[in-house]
Structure formats: C-alpha cells, structure tokens
Symmetry: D3
Subunit: 153 residues, 6 copies
C-alpha cells in the first residue's frame, strides 16, 4: 500500500496562555516540544495506522520566541518512510491575529517516529508517495539526512 | 471589509490521553468543551482580528463517547456575523487511526463570540461573505437561530 | 425511590489563578465549562447513584467576565428527571473576598446528563420530588424546555 | 468586627480522575494537599476579606486511601483567630456515589493561615465568634494547640 | 538489610512558572506541598524498594514566600525508620540564579511514609544506618518526635 | 570569571504517573522533552546567572520506553560554552525502585541554550573550566559538534 503525504497532514492551533509561559514572558520551550511531539505523532499514526513511538528528534531549532497571546499553529507532514520508521517534519508558527493574521516560522524539527506492536517491536509502515515538487524535495532531503545519520553510526 | 469563512477556518487535533479521561474510561465532557472553546476562539480571532470573549454556547450535544487513544479532531468555522458578535460552528470528531482513520462526529455546538475592546465593550467585526452552498446554508441557519433567540428574550 | 433536590446539591469553590487565565486577563471560557461539567456530574451522580454521561448543554450564557484573584463558586442543583436523564442547573458566581464577599452571577446553563451502564446504555434514575416553591418552579421550567426540545426534533 | 464560622465555611467537591492518581491506583497525596490548601485559603479569605498566605500545616493525617472514581469532598471551617492568623480545619471525605453516597473521612489537618498586606506583613483579622457547641469546642482545642506550639518555640 | 541515608537522598529542581502562582504573585502553597510529597515519596521508595503511601505530614512551615522566576530546589532525606514506616525530612529552597545562585530555606516538613503491599497493608522496611553526625542527630530527633506522637495518642 | 561544571549540575526526579502517559502505557515523548528542557534551563541559569532561552536541541534519542510507576531521573551538566551560548547534556534515566533501584539510560540529548537580556539579545556567559577526564572529554566533543554545525551552515 502506498499513500501520499496529504493523507496524514496534521494541523494544530492553540492560543498561548499564561499557563504555557516561562518566567520571562514567552512560551516555555519544553511546552512547545510537547505540542510538536503530539502533532508529529498524530501525523505518523494517520500515515501508518499503527501504534507509534518517537525515536529521535533532529535539527530542532528555536528561531524566534513566542509570546503569550499569539495563536500558535503547528503543521506536521511526513517526509519519507524507512521500513518501520517515518521522518515527520514539524513547523511551528506564531500567528498575530491582532495584526491581520501575520505569521512567522518560530521553530522547526524533524521527528523520527517508529511504528511498533504491543511489545514495542518495529512494524513495517505503508510506503510514501510524494507528488508535488515540494514533497519530492522533502523526500530527497530526508534520504540525505538518513545517509548522514548512518555514516555517523 | 468582508471576509470568507475559509479565512478563519480552524482545525485542531489531539491524541486523547489518560490525563483527559473521566473515571469511566472516556474523555471528560468538560475537557472537550475546553478544547471546543479554544478552537472557536481562534476562529473568531482570525475572522475579527480583535480580542474576543465567548458569550454563549448553543445546542451543545454529546452524541457519542470518545475513548482514550482516539485522535480527536475539532473543526471551527464561522457561520455568520451580527454586528460585534460571531456565530462559530464547532464539530468534534473521533478518528480511529488504528482502523483506516475512520472518523465519526461526536460533539457539535454553536459558539456565540463577541469581539471586545480592553474594557470588554463590543467592537464591530468584519462582515462574513459565505460562498459555497454549505456556507450559505450555515449563514441562513445562523440567522434563524438568532431570530429564535431574540424571540425568546 | 424518590429524592429531593437537596440530596444532590453540589457546591464547588476555587481561587481563579493565572493558570486559568486567557491571554486578556480573565478566566478562559473553556476552563469554566470544564468546572461546570464537573460540578453538574457530581450532582447527577449524587442523585442517580449511577454512572453518568453529559448529553447536552443548554442556554450556556457568559454574562460577565471573571478576573484572576476572584473566588469562583459553582452551584449545581437538579431541576427534573426524565426517565434516564436529568436536567441539572449550574450557576457560576464571582465572589470578591476583598470586598466583603460581594458576589455576582457570571455564567449559567442547564446540563442534560444521562445515567448509563458500563456499555453506555441508559438506566432509569430515581424520581425527583421538588418541595420548595423555587424547586417546583425549576421543575416546571425544565418540563417546558424539554417540550421545546422535543418539538424541534 | 466579629464573624461566626458559618460566614466563611467552604465546601469543594471533585471527581477523582486518572490525572489525579499515583502509580498504584489511588489519589496522589500531594494532589490532595493542593486541594486542601486551596479550600483552606478560600475559607481564610472569606473570613478575613484580606490577602492570605499559608504559614503552617499541623496534624495532617492520611487515614484512608482515596480511589479514582470517588467523589472527593473537602470542607474547611475556621476554628479560631489569633491576631493576624487563622486556624482553619480541613476535612477530606471520600463519597461513594455508586453506593448510596456513603462517605468516610480520609484526611484531616489544621492550616495556619496569615492575613497579609502586599508586602507580606501581617494584618489583623476580624475576631471569630463561635456559636454552636461544636464551634466552641473547636475554638478551645485551637487554643490548646497554639499553647503547645508556643511552648515548643 | 541496612542502608545509609545517602542511598535514598532525593533532589528535585524546578523553575517556578506563572502556572504555579497564586493570585498574589507567589507560588501557591498547595503546589509546593504537591512537589514535597513527590520528592519525599521517591526518597521513601528508594530506601524501601516497596510501594509507599504518605501517612502524615508534621511541622510543615512556610517560612518565606517563593516568587515566580526563582529556581525551587527540594531535598528529601530519610531521618529514621520505624518498622514499616519512614520519617523523611523535606526542605524547600528558593535559589536566585540571577543573584549568584543565592539560596534560602523557604519551607520544611517531616513526611511519615508507610511501605505497603497491594492491599495497603504495612510491610517492614530496611533499617536505616545513620553515619555522619548530622544523620545521627536527625535520627535521634525523629525518635523524640515519635515519642511525642505516641504520648499524644 | 570561570566556573566548573559541578557548579551548575542539575538533577531532577519524578514518579511517572498516569497523567504523564500516552495511550499505549508509556510516558508521552513530549512530556519527557518538557522535563528535559526544564532541567537543562536550570543548569544553564545556574552557570550563567542570566536569563536563558533554548536555541536548539541536538541528537535527541529515545532509546527505551519509560513505563508508568518508574522513577524518572534527569541529569543536566554543562559541556562547554561558546560566547553567549552553552551546550548542556541531558540524560534521562528510568529507575526501578521496586527492583533494587536498577537504572537504565532511556533518553539523551544536547541542548544549546543562549543567555539573553530582556530584549532577547545574546549576553556573554562565564567560561567553563572542565576538570575531570570526563568533563574534558565532554568539552572536546562539544567542540567537534559545534564545528560540524558550523560546517553545515
């Protein structure tokens, strides 16, 4: 079975509230990572239709702080599959609804998520079929990242 | 200024976890209402570009229980504006990712949300321009509901 | 078996803290709904002595914003039973303990709550016997609301 | 100004949910203490009409475990005032709504709470006037406890 | 089997965030008690290697308020064992990392924690062997406190 | 000013509770990341005595699942400083207190954390002086990782 990335695309929005803030007025980084993992996991479940478990997070960069009051939008899209594991790209945007919904990318990362059975053994996932130019580019870059990881190990 | 409903459409997905459960194995109703209000508020902020405050919730029906482990998807779309207030429709779906992402509507409601200034006084919002047949139907039904509310008062 | 409303009256108080606030300094609406559902559910459990599940919320009106620092008091009282379902009235008060405990009604709604067995099938609840003039008035109004709901369906 | 204990009596009920549980199926002790402090603080604010700060907790005994699914009821009543501080008694009950609302006392403690100004300096509170036999007994026992505390120091 | 206190010493640090605050800008007392109980329970589990349940809290004093933004450090050390129960001392420090990590003791208490089996029956714990002068002093003071408790009962 | 890694070493332990679990019985990955970021941030604040902001997370690997009921221990130690940024190593251990406190490493990552002023501009941090063989090894490896990052950019 083969699936396109659109089938598992996952979007999530939240209003950043005081309960999410650190002590210097912006959203606590760990809180954002928690939201990213949730969104990536849903994407991986939608693609694999299996139980999933996050294996690694790569290139997690916090480019810009996110202030209380902003709408936070998180988008997860699957880049590529490798047997039983999936690389899911997660982007976090700050969206200023008080300023014409202007949006900026604040955080980005790739989540490596494995499909597992009840004993946490890996299970093969459906193959991914990228279609658009951007999807194909993501698919190729995911392959290069994997080669580098394997070279390191 | 006039906006279409697509401009403010808001989608939100979460994995139902044990922390969200009541003591009989399904998601606690109040938790779902909290998520619905958040999603509706983002939709209202995206349409109005103003501060917003929930004024009323109408026709909130819990049709089906939602079990831990399901993906919960919440969709908010603005039905109509009335001066400074907006009627936002919120649908909650349970999505069984372990069963081919089969989805069922579990909860639905209309949220009446006002745009306000810093002193909580009402502020006029942009008009809504429904385009598709469904958007026009939603727009008309929102008008009927409002007439009934006014008749009661 | 017949029970009076006093047997299941439920009261709940909390100090509104920053963790409960939205991004404009008042308590997030969804948070209040969560508290209301909890209080209504306890009331329904105390009356029915059964498992319960919220079926609908009606006439939920947020009349006044609630600020951080206020004591929030929520009172739930059963209005009437209909076979396996109960109508529970929930009032939310803001209480200013720094100003002689002055209190104002901020939110109100009726919760329709069903008694269920382990398979979520409806189970008959004890009848309600209203005694005071106010309890009888609530009982009658609940009947009228139910007639309207049935007329709509 | 003189006030009776009834003026500040505070009651709080909650359904014990999985999110409140420790890893062996009962409510986590720290969670219960958190609820007790909240309830005691409201009672102290209602009596003093001032800002308050918990100074000490005495004789905190967990007599019985509390299971997920029970209704937990917490009752706070002021025992006595001492200048700027108040002794508030807090009792925690487990209430089995599936078994005719049978209730048992699970935890008890006295909270010593000071009224303070914005700089955390003590402020005198209204005197307490116990009326019923039980209120008078509580008032006297609070005095004995205070004498013992002072003897220790 | 005999163990020293060092084997079960437990340390826990957190940044005090807005979500932990009360409505007057300092950390809510119940939140601190929750953290103390968690830390004490880990210490008791590390000593006993058994399931544990908090039985009582003694001499809980809040000496100083803790402000949002401070690092809070909690240290739990076992003072003495009594058959199936353990006395664990818990100290809470505020640590000002913006001021050369200056630290002050803010809260202190002794937690009496029992080792239990699955039916909450008491189970004997390993004996404690105090070694340093301070450990021996703690051990002796725990004995005196116990004698006083028994005298009261 | 020069500081050793011991000055900022940070340890944190928690009992994994149902509220931390995902829907397949282990701790939710995002929850662990949240705890890691908190622990790393305290370490960075203790070294820098400045406000800090997480910039990136590298090599985040979830080697083993963590079950509800385990004690989770997180250790953060600073590896090296680079002007205004610090590399902090974070290890997460599962500790089975029911089995002689046996412990296994479950997750590891390096956090790149910047010291910032109130406008989020970088501020120079004290230099790190590694002393033990392990600290020197960590210091050198951090330099190699930084060279690779710079080569990529």
């Amino acid at each position: 079975m083969i699936k396109t990335p659109d089938k598992s695309y996952t979007e999530w929005s939240v209003i950043a509230r005081p309960k999410d803030a650190n002590s210097i007025g912006t959203i606590f980084g760990g809180r954002i990572m928690d939201w990213m993992d949730m969104t990536a996991s849903i994407c991986a479940r939608r693609h694999s239709n299996l139980k999933v478990s996050t294996v690694a997070v790569e290139n997690l960069h916090f480019a810009k702080p996110l202030k209380v009051g902003l709408v936070i939008k998180i988008c997860a899209v699957i880049n590529r599959t490798f047997g039983s594991s999936m690389e899911v790209n997660v982007d976090v945007f700050g969206e200023d609804t008080y300023n014409n919904n202007k949006s900026f990318k604040a955080v980005t990362a790739q989540f490596i998520i494995a499909a597992v059975d009840d004993s946490y053994r890996p299970v093969k996932v459906p193959e991914l079929k990228p279609e658009s130019a951007e999807q194909i580019k993501r698919w190729e870059e995911a392959g290069e990242r994997r080669n580098k990881r394997n070279a390191k190990a």
